[in-house]
Symmetry: C2
């Protein structure tokens, strides 16, 4: 089930993590992105308990990230497919992968990314939607947006103090 | 402490999650990115238990994401600052934020991103490091890389079956 303490925060990072922030969830998604869509095979690849996998899949279906498609009757069996909303999470996986490649995989990347439009092995790069300049931690800041509440404004003042 | 079952996988996503995948860790990082660097104030903003926060901070320091800097003696007090390695995690936070803005914050973004080079409120966009084309889930695939093992090759065959 989604993490309530995260869903209750008025923060889009926390809300995303209310769906993705349980242990194993991102790795379940990794398997589905790799084309591994069936319960028993996801469980076998990850080596996790059935009840944990059931819970994570239910959360992802409820959040609209995955959808169940029946592939057999008697017994009923389902595959888990990424929705359009779920496909957008590739961006998160690519950034987790990139950081791990850079800092935690000294023997070289276990898996590389191919951009099928140009056919090359690539990395993802983040750019500005307005001017196209490359983003890095020293040219990005954040400020309160239209969805901010009075409590957000108070927290912002506390952080600035 | 890092999640051992993730660190043991030959996968850069899993290895990153061995450091970031505990509940609350990404939100601790959010606070530090927002300039909230002191234990008591991070704890107060997040409303989490001291032992949980201590554990998460220790993992992040051990992984080289944060470094402790003393700001007071008698009593010893420390601030937690992002290292260069830690600053690179902004990319992950931006993608979590973007997805949450798009799918989980119907009242509008609580927080917006400003690209200080151009001064505009922006979104992050992911492009190909080779050709500059925009990346999306249908023009990216992955394949085994130089760090792949025999076990990875066997898993790839199982997934393709």
């Amino acid at each position: 089930m989604p993490i309530k303490a995260f869903a209750a925060q008025n923060c889009s990072v926390a809300r995303t993590l209310s769906v993705l922030g349980e242990r194993w969830t991102m790795l379940v998604l990794r398997e589905v992105f790799l084309g591994n869509r069936r319960f028993d095979r996801i469980r076998a690849e990850l080596g996790i308990a059935s009840n944990v996998l059931s819970d994570r899949l239910a959360t992802l279906v409820e959040a609209g990230v995955l959808e169940r498609r029946r592939y057999s009757e008697r017994p009923d069996r389902f595959e888990y497919w990424l929705t359009e909303t779920g496909l957008e999470l590739q961006a998160v996986l690519l950034e987790l992968l990139k950081w791990g490649d850079a800092h935690m995989s000294p023997a070289g990347p276990p898996r590389v990314i191919v951009h099928t439009d140009c056919g090359e092995v690539i990395e993802s790069k983040q750019i500005c939607s307005h001017c196209g300049g490359e983003l890095h931690a020293r040219n990005v800041r954040s400020r309160l947006g239209p969805g901010a509440t009075d409590e957000d404004r108070a927290a912002e003042l506390r952080r600035a103090a």
